[in-house]
């Protein structure tokens, strides 16, 4: 997808509570019409970042611009109600004293409510049946739809979603994720999704920022992040790679699983994703199967070399591996980066 104009630009946002720094020099550029992901574990500062963009929290320093208008810097702080940024909260934050229709109408002016916009949004989000219910009567998925409809109704410039699917069970989360994404695409709404779920970030977003301890460590397309993580922690945050220590001389690095081309010299880490290791049964093979966990769509095989080091490979479920089986491996893709130490 190609995006051509910038809608929001945040520069050097920092925030600390007392001596504890939650976010340092947070920078992002959001393209109009894109879905942007902020991926991080709990405590990485991702929710704080989102709340700053929405205006609920005041950064200690930095600036935020929307369409070249400053909405926050040292002198200016546009309050949240004037930013025209919609927000979907993790626990939905539906108004418990209002029914579904009134929740959705909350941000609309009287004129807009009568112009048909209200009914349009309700129809768009498939909520006609639930109009007169109160939030507590709805399931999690329905509440989520109401929250989204409420945020979309006033046609915000962009919409922020804070862990939108974590309160739902896995299957519901997937269904709703598809619904939400197609709704955002249809209405060409710019969105930022904060999540700790790598699958969610990679499958939904156009661009993903990986946040760790209050720092953005990599911002790129999902493919780039997955295939070329710039550090071990990014590699760890998307997928669960085998990390091998090595030392590179003249562009090649020797590891327990063989020798590979490397982009760096000296001490480095080699990340090999389990799905990049192809396994085959071979009675004279150098590796021994330790354990095999069957997931249905695939299986993860733990195997060890003669030194007892453990590795993981992912394979299709058709062949059965038993502990003690001898195997050969073939590696299709590795990533190297300078060692942490």
């Amino acid at each position: 997808m190609v995006f051509d104009s910038l809608i929001l630009r945040a520069r050097d946002l920092s925030k600390s509570y007392g001596s504890e720094s939650v976010l340092t020099n947070f920078n992002i550029d959001i393209w109009e019409g894109s879905i942007f992901g902020i991926l991080g574990t709990s405590g990485s500062g991702k929710t704080t970042a989102l709340r700053m963009l929405a205006g609920f929290e005041i950064p200690d320093s930095g600036s935020i611009e929307m369409y070249d208008n400053v909405i926050f810097n040292e002198e200016i702080n546009i309050p949240p109600e004037k930013r025209n940024i919609g927000m979907v909260f993790q626990d939905y934050a539906l108004f418990p004293h209002l029914n579904v229709e009134k929740n959705i109408a909350f941000g609309l002016s009287k004129a807009d409510q009568n112009s048909g916009r209200l009914q349009e949004v309700i129809a768009m989000c498939n909520l006609n049946k639930y109009k007169n219910k109160i939030p507590q009567e709805l399931s999690g998925g329905q509440q989520q739809r109401v929250a989204l409809a409420r945020a979309l109704a006033p046609k915000p410039e962009m919409i922020l979603l804070d862990e939108p699917f974590t309160s739902l069970d896995a299957q519901m989360a997937r269904v709703l994720r598809d619904e939400v994404v197609s709704l955002l695409r249809e209405t060409k709404t710019t969105a930022i999704i904060v999540t700790h779920d790598q699958e969610e970030a990679l499958s939904v977003c156009d661009i993903v920022s990986v946040l760790e301890n209050g720092n953005v460590i990599q911002s790129a397309t999902p493919q780039e992040i997955y295939l070329n993580p710039i550090s071990q922690s990014v590699a760890n945050s998307v997928g669960d790679p085998n990390i091998l220590k090595g030392f590179s001389v003249d562009g090649r690095v020797e590891t327990s699983l063989g020798s590979f081309v490397s982009a760096y010299e000296g001490a480095l880490d080699v990340a090999i994703r389990p799905e990049c290791i192809e396994v085959s049964l071979n009675s004279t093979g150098p590796y021994t199967v330790k354990e095999c966990i069957f997931y249905g769509h695939d299986q993860v095989i733990s195997f060890q070399n003669n030194k007892g080091e453990l590795f993981r490979a992912r394979s299709l479920p058709s062949i059965i591996y038993e502990p003690g089986d001898k195997i050969c491996i073939e590696i299709s893709e590795v990533t190297t980066f300078p060692s942490n130490k």
Partner: protein
């Protein structure tokens, strides 16, 4: 919550019969009023014609409405300011603003009447500015001021705790939808506080219609004042019975509506509530906020205390002999202590029955006890008075009759406190104990009682406090020769003997401060 109920277990006979007797005693006052009401010798319309019933009803209702509205406004404002705004030492302001709760309305009224009487304290102080006489504070206005000042803390206590538990994410959501800070309060916060608002205003309302001390000292004719006046005239019992019945009907209506708004946290959806940062105030608003809090605290707390101190010091300095208050102190302490002890003894089987034996009778008992909460003391007092005259002359004006009357009004407090602690006693504990070979009584003694005795003690302390401040029942039912501090204060104040009234008030407040402090600092139900 307990996971399952002991539906199949039969209620022990002792428990069942003792509770039947308790229930009978408790329903007696209402039953007697109903009986008298049905058997009036004259027609009901004659009541409306001969006594100014409509005036009294109107006065009572008008006072009810005004005080409820005023308390609500002040109480909500104080709650929002102390919970949500960035003010200096919010906890201190909060505590000072709920403290007027410990001052009984008749003491509050006494201080206002004495301070603002035509040649009173206020005039004496401001005479240097040329103030020579004021018209005094009494009637509707006086009753309103005093009752509002001593009931708004109920609103503060109930609404501020609800406000503290509100998840403010919902308010963030409203802001992201374009509402400003003021709209957040009118469209989100206050609507979400609907239940605590209704609940606390009905509590205030019950207090107002039942109040006897303040309206009497302010000479404002409401039902309670009329009941006592007719009783003193002693012409015949009919009007006293009639007004008491009306009052009870009003009170039952109010508690009925209040039960409908049970306070729960059901509106909270999930997760821990996000606590909002306190809002910063601009200089101008800051000034008004502090001014408001200061005025409220001066009127509700500092003024009454200062006036009492003034009378006390002046009385002592001028050698005006402060008459012996010893009798009142002994009377108050003994009645309160006995009422407290009996309330605990009687509450225990009811609590056990309701919590551990889910029978129809248990549920019925619980409902009745809830409904009886907040019955106007004076009406119960009147009924007990007539029952002792007509049916049990042996205990007419006896200590027993007085204590029974107290218990009928205050027992729900002891039950409430005990029930809260009863939640810790899980059925599995009882099963485990029975399984280990203990009988029901041994189980009660070894398991239930150790877990709930703190709650029972708290309940007893509450009853002790309430009894000590009780006025109208004591006036109606006390045996000849028994004085309490409340009665002393009331009679001195009615005669304009402010020094003596102040002295007794001080002792009453000082003695009740101790259990109040213990109750407020320790969570005795856990």
């Amino acid at each position: 919550m307990n996971q399952y109920s002991l539906k199949d277990v039969k209620t022990p006979k002792i428990l069942f019969f003792s509770n039947i007797i308790i229930l009978f005693v408790f329903l007696m006052p209402i039953g007697y009023l109903v009986y008298r009401f049905i058997n009036f010798s004259r027609s009901y319309t004659s009541f409306f014609n001969s006594w100014n019933v409509l005036d009294l009803l109107g006065n009572t209702f008008f006072l009810f409405l005004t005080v409820v509205v005023l308390s609500l406004i002040i109480g909500l404002a104080v709650s929002i300011i102390t919970v949500r705004f960035d003010i200096y030492r919010p906890k201190i302001f909060f505590t000072l603003s709920v403290l007027p709760l410990v001052i009984p309305s008749y003491i509050g009224a006494l201080t206002y009447v004495s301070a603002f009487s035509p040649k009173g304290l206020f005039v004496q102080i401001f005479s240097i500015f040329g103030v020579s006489e004021i018209s005094g504070i009494e009637g509707f206005f006086g009753s309103c001021v005093v009752l509002t000042l001593f009931t708004y803390p109920y609103v503060v206590l109930i609404c501020s705790s609800a406000l503290r538990n509100l998840d403010s994410t919902v308010e963030d959501a409203a802001r992201s939808l374009g509402k400003n800070k003021f709209q957040i309060y009118t469209q989100v916060v206050i609507p979400r506080l609907k239940k605590p608002i209704i609940f606390s205003s009905l509590l205030v309302g019950l207090y107002v219609i039942s109040d006897f001390g303040a309206v009497s000292l302010m000479r404002y004719s409401t039902l309670t004042k009329a009941i006592y006046s007719y009783y003193e005239l002693k012409i015949d019992g009919d009007p006293v019975i009639f007004y008491s019945s009306l009052l009870i009907v009003m009170a039952l209506l109010i508690s009925f509506v209040q039960r409908g708004t049970e306070l729960s946290n059901s509106s909270k959806i999930s997760g821990t509530p996000r606590i909002p940062e306190r809002s910063q105030l601009r200089l101008k608003s800051k000034f008004f906020v502090y001014l408001f809090l200061t005025v409220v605290i001066i009127l509700g707390l500092i003024l009454p205390i200062s006036v009492l101190s003034y009378w006390l010091v002046r009385g002592l300095m001028s050698g005006n002999s402060v008459r012996a208050v010893f009798g009142g102190v002994v009377g108050s302490l003994s009645t309160s202590l006995i009422a407290a002890i009996f309330s605990v003894i009687i509450a225990t089987p009811i609590i056990i029955m309701v919590a551990q034996y889910k029978s129809k009778f248990g549920n019925f008992l619980e409902r009745i006890m809830l409904a009886l909460y907040g019955l106007p003391h004076i009406a119960v007092g009147v009924s007990i008075l007539f029952i002792t005259i007509k049916i049990f002359p042996g205990i007419y004006q006896s200590f027993t009759a007085l204590i029974v009357s107290y218990l009928i009004v205050f027992l729900p407090q002891a039950i409430g406190a005990g029930q809260a602690s009863m939640e810790q006693v899980k059925f599995s504990y009882l099963d485990a104990s029975n399984g280990l070979g203990n009988s029901k009584f041994q189980t009660f003694y070894k398991i239930t009682l150790p877990l709930i005795y703190r709650g029972l003690f708290a309940g007893g302390a509450l009853v002790f406090l309430s009894t000590m401040k009780e006025l109208p029942q004591t006036l109606l039912l006390r045996p000849t020769g028994l004085n309490t501090m409340a009665v002393d204060i009331w009679s001195y104040a009615s005669e304009g003997l402010f020094t003596q009234a102040a002295f007794s008030s001080f002792i009453l407040l000082a003695i009740s401060a101790i259990p109040t402090y213990i109750l407020s600092t320790r969570n005795l139900t856990k």
